[in-house]
Subunit: 367 residues, 4 copies
């Protein structure tokens, strides 16, 4: 069911949405907080107050980009938000989501987790027809397509456009009246539906629900579109069905172990991977040492299966960002240096297994 | 020659451009500093380094929005910048110029001083053809038209679009290779051409030249388009000629008295208006008191002509912004209170002439 | 009555105090705003809530150093505040007033406008007795003396210490229960008493009263100490009388023209000085040009007396700080450049009188 | 050897010092970064450039309080720095260390980890003799005593004062010429000496050495005073010997597991504590779950000894500060909520051992 794709870890972001809560912006802020590991380059929140969209975006972590003043400006009962992890694109406020535009279908905001390999070609076509782009993002292409759609309303336009779009997308749209969630037919990126009192909430990972005391209801299904407005929630399946192909890196690396992703506990997946590794790659070693933090569960699994002692041989400084996700190479090098420190007495003169995920930045592989 | 128009003081902004200087961003920063009185809501600078455009924008005054770090990120030899005075539009970073987009003609940045009454209608048409808008600004409409143009290059596209556009515009465009200045055929808003060593500079007012030791060469003429690139400066007149109609408020209120606007000293104009007022509206008064700062020259003229003593009866607190230009009504009210204080011994029991311009915020009219 | 002293323009600061108002911090903020011209290096406010002192200080202008959050932290009905113009001392947060300390007399805060030439010697003596200093300021010496005093209470201690102190001082002290104002026997620096509804207010200049709608009552007299507490205002004269010697630069340069200083209108003084100058130094000139802003009133006086036309030949950019008061030489040079621009058509080929005050930074003298 | 004391977890701070390195401030910044877990309320660095002391202090984390500009202002070859964890004292910039004062012995800066129960009484005595206090800190009392000492120089003064002081102190002093480290005779708080090329470095924990590639040499001994100046390092033992009594919470909770504290690996201590707990408190449970992060090593030890499986049942959000150390109760409550999330599938319907340290904020005890 899981597939290692060609996505090269691109477009690893987090999205969150809520409909019908008087404190929508603040709950979105908390939801993004819980999803911060999915992207630290920039973040943004847009709210709808029934009549119009208002948004605030900023570079860096949620806690730095938002303060009381900014949240207070975001009054409205419906909201979506985004944390971004940059890939090949620019590191700039221009790329920061949610994107908010006005078109013939009114105001539309969008948050996207995924990537659209064919967008670049489409972008050129749109430019030839006179389109202007404010970012380098694939997501802006979708907005153009929606704006150009002759569909009767924005919901139909989104369905129409995305039914013709290949690629990975778990997307949230916000209009002055509705919140729309849609997931590509392969279901490549996660998207979960939850309930907070009488409100619907949607998030990339269920750990965002836990933080705000919302309950996980189910996943948004591959190919499903959910429209939430004052009349309630309506589900449809406007996208052509495809074979499911969920991104294995969500379980291996991206997601938090306390999340349910693709209906399964991430922690359990990692534990099992560690066990499997111990069987497939038995090691003549003294101890198993996890690479914090995503490697802990796998190391426990390896230790459990192999019988080798599990030891905390690398200590992380928690006052820096996550190992994996940082935008610039120069920061990365410094970051690795500042983040992990060995516990010498544990690892000196020992044969060690690091049952780590493939991690291009750390260059650590399973021994 | 001067015309009181229907522009209701809208879109009073300042633009500055420079081509071919190693310190382009910093000189633009200084130019905007000198033009700060034309807009304090937001500001921005875009530079071209020969290959691409880089920009920084921010809310508030130039000195607050820009620091060394931001200026250092703007490396390139060509630059344009903008200070914005908001009118009916939103007070938001979305409205902040320069706008920078990518389209079939490549990257284009634009700064606009003026207003385009017909843009709203055009905007609707564009939306019906699938255009998306990121701001509420008329200026974005021009960018769309340029992007849709089938002209061979961006210069021709700009000429083509603006030759069909009615309204007031003194605009600067920047592309990776060229700086383009264009002024509407009536010449409603000012735009001056200057020289700094071997570089061309362009600004809304000549006071921006003074600050950076550039020399005023001449005005960009009504209907003229100037293209500056590595081959030098080329002038053309692609716009249909119209009767000149320059905005009288530039001389009455907007511009700094040390600027040459429409070929004439602003200070001299104000002095003459004061003299004229003394003839047309002689007052049986004790003293003439100027409303700082734009009213000083007129009050001197009134005093000179009438023989009534000129006295500084209102003192301004210089640690707040200019009287006239502030974005929000709530700030304005506070601002007036905090800005001007009467000198009691001068004005008590006196009959006073305030030869002030019409100023909707102060509610002060000629006695 | 006025004396040009040896103080070399040192220690030009502004102080403000208020007793018994629920919005004490915010009114102090506005008072400092009106006194901003007296010092732009740093500022601070301390409030007493009846039990303890709370303070906030910052570098730069009042409007930059204080925001809603900081003001909200300053809850209490009594407050004093300070704007500082640095002289020989360090430019550092350490030097920022009010100083707040705890000693055997309880908590004491102090704001000082003036200078104490003998403090340096006294400081050495105190150090030899084991005192520690946190700043380079003369004012801290006074605090040490007060702390060491065996007087029965802080009021008596202040009177005792300052009756033995030579120098210029207009000082405000705040304790958890009282506000104390004291002025040196020569009355070198100004200090005015005002009334806002049922509250007493005290400020360096009366323009601070105007802004908050307080009424000027009278000056704190040279040698007078005023103690305001819940029982009301009590005046005494604990300091040895001396010949009055008020600083002439307050009228020439420091103060705002709309203030009453030493019982006289600053604007009227400047006007008279201009007239006197016209008599003593008649000039064979074409026009009189003021050096903004402090030179305007004198230039009007010169023009009135001499009959030479008054013209606004120098224009100031109002988005920078005041000409005279800036801490660092390097900033000054840039500041002069950026602040004043000549109106060419007015001054070219003219013989001009600049009836300016002596201004060491501008290097402009009366012709 | 370890003692559970009455210190109630007060005055848990981190100190770092370096002598003779051209990049002293930046290395101190990194050292404080590694010690951030010991205090997040405020931080500060002071450098000596041979002639004088320069300092910068700020609220919050090291990475937020310091930027390039602030570090660039700190030019000098010798430096000390501090991260503070507030206890009963005020949360205010006044309390922020290093304290820097001038006295008869010249300029002195101090950083303190520890607490001095008798300081409050001494403080009253000093006030009766006329001392003024700028903070509520015990450390300021020591500075007063040093300033009042008749000793020939600052080194002798420090030795004299601290030989009469009871309490816990690991202190660093910086003067324009020397760095002085001193540790109380019981050795209650840690202090380690290291070597970076030709420079001496001193830190609360050895993890600060690891980050900057310095080598751990030895602990500063209980009762030892080390003076480092241009002539090199000189050790003496001016304090009355006492029975050693090191704080057990350093090993249980405060320190990082990768540090060597009191000559022993913190990780090993925790592992052993977990093993001991498994023997003394065997549990009829299904799994062992650590409370991140300080409880991981103990949980591994418990699991190893008991044979119960070790599972990661609580996940921490790494984008917030450390569990234990936050200044305000209101923040703490929010913090616990936002920091830890259970992995449901692991802990539901399980009997669990949390081999946690006593943690007053989490309220989690060994089951």
């Amino acid at each position: 069911m899981f597939t290692v794709s060609d996505d090269k870890l691109r477009e690893e972001c987090g999205v969150f949405g809520i409909f019908g809560h008087p404190d929508a912006a603040r709950l979105t802020y908390l939801g993004l907080y819980a999803l911060q590991h999915r992207g630290q380059e920039s973040c943004g929140i847009v709210v709808a107050d029934g009549a119009q969209l208002i948004f605030e975006r900023g570079m860096g972590h949620v806690r730095d980009a938002f303060d009381e003043d900014r949240l207070n400006r975001l009054s409205g009962q419906n909201a979506i938000g985004h944390v971004r992890y940059s890939t090949a694109g620019e590191v700039s406020i221009r790329e920061c989501q949610p994107f908010v535009v006005t078109c013939q279908h009114g105001q539309i905001a969008v948050c996207h987790n995924g990537n659209l390999p064919f967008a670049r070609e489409e972008r050129k076509k749109l430019e030839q027809h006179g389109a202007i782009f404010s970012s380098t993002s694939d997501t802006e292409v979708v907005l153009h397509e929606v704006a150009r759609s002759r569909a009767a309303n924005v919901t139909d336009a989104i369905a129409e456009v995305l039914s013709e779009t290949e690629g990975a997308f778990s997307m949230l749209f916000l209009t002055p009246k509705a919140l729309i969630a849609i997931r590509d037919p392969r279901g490549f990126r996660p998207l979960a539906l939850g309930r907070l009192d009488d409100c619907w909430v949607i998030a990339s990972e269920t750990c965002a629900f836990d933080l705000i005391d919302a309950k996980y209801v189910r996943d948004v299904e591959p190919g499903e579109m959910i429209v939430i407005n004052e009349e309630g929630l309506r589900s449809s399946h406007p996208l052509r069905p495809e074979k499911h192909a969920m991104c294995i890196f969500e379980h291996v690396y991206f997601s938090r172990p306390d999340s349910i992703i693709f209906g399964q506990s991430v922690n359990r997946s990692r534990h099992k991977m560690g066990q499997r590794l111990a069987i497939e790659q038995p090691a003549d070693a003294d101890i198993v040492v996890p690479v914090p933090d995503s490697g802990v569960a796998a190391a426990i699994g390896y230790s459990a299966e192999s019988g080798l002692p599990f030891r905390l041989g690398l200590v992380r400084n928690h006052y820096v960002g996550r190992t994996f996700i940082e935008p610039k190479q120069s920061i990365r090098s410094f970051g690795v240096r500042i983040k992990l420190n060995p516990v010498r007495h544990l690892i000196e003169n020992k044969r060690i297994v690091f049952p780590a995920q493939w991690d291009p930045k750390l260059g650590i592989h399973v021994t």
